[in-house]
């Protein structure tokens, strides 16, 4: 998949680095001079109010939109922004898990794991047995769905919200994504389901991958992140380790940002 395969496994410090990234939408300055670096096995929480620029930042990174200026490095190699696309980001082992756009609701889990990357013979017919076997392995070992009555033939609509996030994260891990971006994975989930999602995030860390975790709920992201980036009006205004700032202090900080507007 990768154009330079040795690049993936070679020593690199940062899975992603941005330098001076700017984005204008007409007169709106959506991203202001963004400098950031994500380590290869780091969970980085991205927080900020609505409209702070969180999703714009992710879209620039994953090739959905192009920045107005600046440089982006993946595994310390600069990428050509003009040709950066969603497919290119996938080829660079960067995968985004969207809140509810990641899984086909009426389809069984084994199809959801492999759609777009099916195991086929040369005529394009799917090797169902092999896909199911691997899907079963991902269910049990990568995301740890044991004894919950979910199998590879279960439909996505039978799953709870947290389990769905788990499936999408497990799929990203199976396809060796080095950076998994989670877009508000705990929105509208019950407390028990949130616990599951946070466990999946810890599994990402344990497997040696990096993760950018966009979240509204400070307590959730504070619990699992190695580092927190606070965005405000398109600017990174804080870069803190969770141990240096408690959740109430962080809340206070964000409220003050709003008052200073």
């Amino acid at each position: 998949m990768n154009a330079e395969p040795d690049q993936t496994h070679a020593a690199f410090r940062h899975i992603v680095r941005m330098e001076g990234v700017q984005k204008y939408f007409g007169a709106v300055h959506a991203l202001r001079n963004i400098d950031l670096a994500i380590g290869r096995n780091e969970i980085v929480g991205l927080i900020g109010d609505n409209g702070a620029g969180k999703s714009t930042l992710i879209k620039v990174l994953t090739g959905v939109i192009q920045p107005s200026s600046g440089r982006i490095y993946v595994r310390d190699q600069e990428i050509n922004l003009a040709s950066h696309s969603v497919g290119h980001a996938h080829a660079l082992s960067i995968e985004t898990v969207y809140q509810d756009k990641s899984l086909g609701e009426k389809q069984p889990l084994w199809r959801n794991f492999f759609v777009g990357r099916q195991i086929t013979n040369r005529f394009g017919f799917i090797n169902i047995r092999e896909e199911k076997r691997i899907a079963q392995d991902i269910l049990l070992n990568t995301i740890g769905f044991r004894g919950v009555g979910i199998g590879v033939d279960s439909n996505v609509k039978q799953l709870s919200g947290g389990e769905r996030q788990g499936i999408a994260i497990g799929r990203a891990m199976h396809f060796n994504s080095d950076l998994i971006i989670l877009d508000e994975p705990t929105v509208a989930l019950a407390v028990k389901e949130v616990r599951k999602v946070l466990d999946f995030v810890r599994r990402i860390k344990a497997s040696g991958r990096a993760c950018i975790y966009i979240e509204h709920n400070l307590a959730h992201v504070h619990e699992v992140a190695d580092r927190l980036l606070v965005l405000d009006r398109g600017e990174i205004v804080a870069d803190v380790a969770p141990k240096d700032m408690t959740v109430p202090e962080l809340t206070e900080f964000l409220i003050n940002l709003q008052h200073n507007r």
Binding site: K101, G104, E105, K106, Q107, R111, V115, G116, Q118, Q158
Partner: protein
């Protein structure tokens, strides 16, 4: 969510089982009300010779509806491709080349539909409504509204291979009258079943029908697959058109008109979701049998032909409402709420 972890029921394990049960019950009913028709083999050899066009159309529509789209233009393909084939076959004596020409005309209509829907982004309902008028208009213009009798067609190898019979053509024994088009149709449907359930294309169709956004995110080329989908539908409609024209040994300008409701109804009665993402080709085939049998059975039971459409339309609506209520718990719950009843023991939350 109390029962979601229950093992799958018998109904969900065997594809199309509910509709097969309905079929058997209806068959039993008609055997009782019209035994002189339904207890004789002739009705079933007639089925084998007249049902294939409907089955081919409905099989193609299973893909289209499964992708969350619709095609209203296939009756025009029945007219247009039937005309192209009839002219090349009769006036130009082109034999098998006429078959290729008929097929190509259907594929052309399909590609145009696909481009209008996928590239330009016209909703399929509107795009194919437009192409339906355009191509049936073209067929009428070219043919001058006249019908084409293909007299002597049964001498040709085309006729014998596509719609001939296995046995001695002069025999009236039922086993000599089994039509070859039933075999072709069976093979095509079998191939389509494998494509839908086992091929990458079929899987992409299911995900597109489920949600186009999801399909794009997981890397499906929605535009390309949509064009392929409509091309397939056009090709199947062309095959149906040629079988129909050969079977009748005659081309009529309005020969596709009767299939619009019946083919869509067969798909939805069979259990393919009207919202896309869930399909059953086996259900579709039995849906076709039911549609066909209603027509034969109602007439044989002594009701006039005017009843047939009425009853078909009614059964169509009943089937849609039934599947809607069974498969969409949220809709079912809102329906029950509207009637002020509580849905006992179930939670509507999904």
């Amino acid at each position: 969510m109390p029962n979601r972890r229950a093992p799958p029921s018998l109904f969900s394990r065997i594809e199309g089982l509910p509709i097969i049960v309905v079929f058997v019950l209806l068959l039993g009913l008609f055997m009782y009300t019209a035994p002189n028709v339904f207890l004789h083999p002739q009705i079933y050899t007639t089925l084998a010779s007249t049902a294939p066009p409907l089955i081919l159309l409905a099989a193609g529509l299973t893909f289209v509806i499964g992708a969350g789209e619709i095609d209203l233009s296939f009756p025009a393909v029945i007219a247009f491709s039937g005309y192209v084939f009839a002219v090349l076959f009769k006036d130009y004596q082109l034999g098998w080349i006429a078959v290729a020409g008929g097929l190509a005309s259907g594929l052309l209509v399909g590609v145009v539909n696909g481009l209008l829907i996928a590239r330009i982004g016209i909703p399929s309902f509107i795009a194919t409504l437009g192409t339906q008028f355009f191509w049936s208009g073209m067929a009428t213009l070219f043919s001058g509204g006249k019908s084409y009798a293909l007299r002597g067609a049964d001498e040709s190898s085309v006729w014998q291979w596509i719609v001939g019979t296995f046995g001695d053509p002069n025999s009236i024994a039922w086993q000599d009258q089994i039509s070859i088009q039933a075999i072709w149709t069976g093979l095509i449907v079998l191939g389509l079943w494998f494509v839908l359930n086992r091929h990458v294309f079929g899987e992409h169709i299911l995900f597109i029908g489920d949600s186009k956004d999801v399909a794009r995110v997981v890397g499906v080329n929605v535009e390309r697959e949509t064009i392929t989908l409509y091309t397939l539908m056009g090709g199947l409609a062309a095959v149906a058109a040629m079988m129909l024209t050969l079977e009748n040994k005659n081309y009529f300008g309005n020969q596709g008109g009767g299939y619009l409701l019946t083919a869509i109804a067969a798909v939805l009665i069979g259990g393919t979701s009207i919202f896309g993402g869930k399909t059953t080709l086996i259900g579709t085939v039995f849906g076709c049998f039911i549609i066909w049998m209603l027509e034969a059975g109602l007439v044989a039971s002594g009701l006039t032909g005017a009843w047939v459409r009425t009853v078909q339309g009614l059964i169509f609506l009943i089937a849609i409402v039934f599947y809607l209520l069974v498969e969409e718990p949220a809709r079912r719950a809102s329906l029950f709420r509207r009637f002020g009843a509580k849905e006992s023991g179930r939670t509507a939350k999904v």
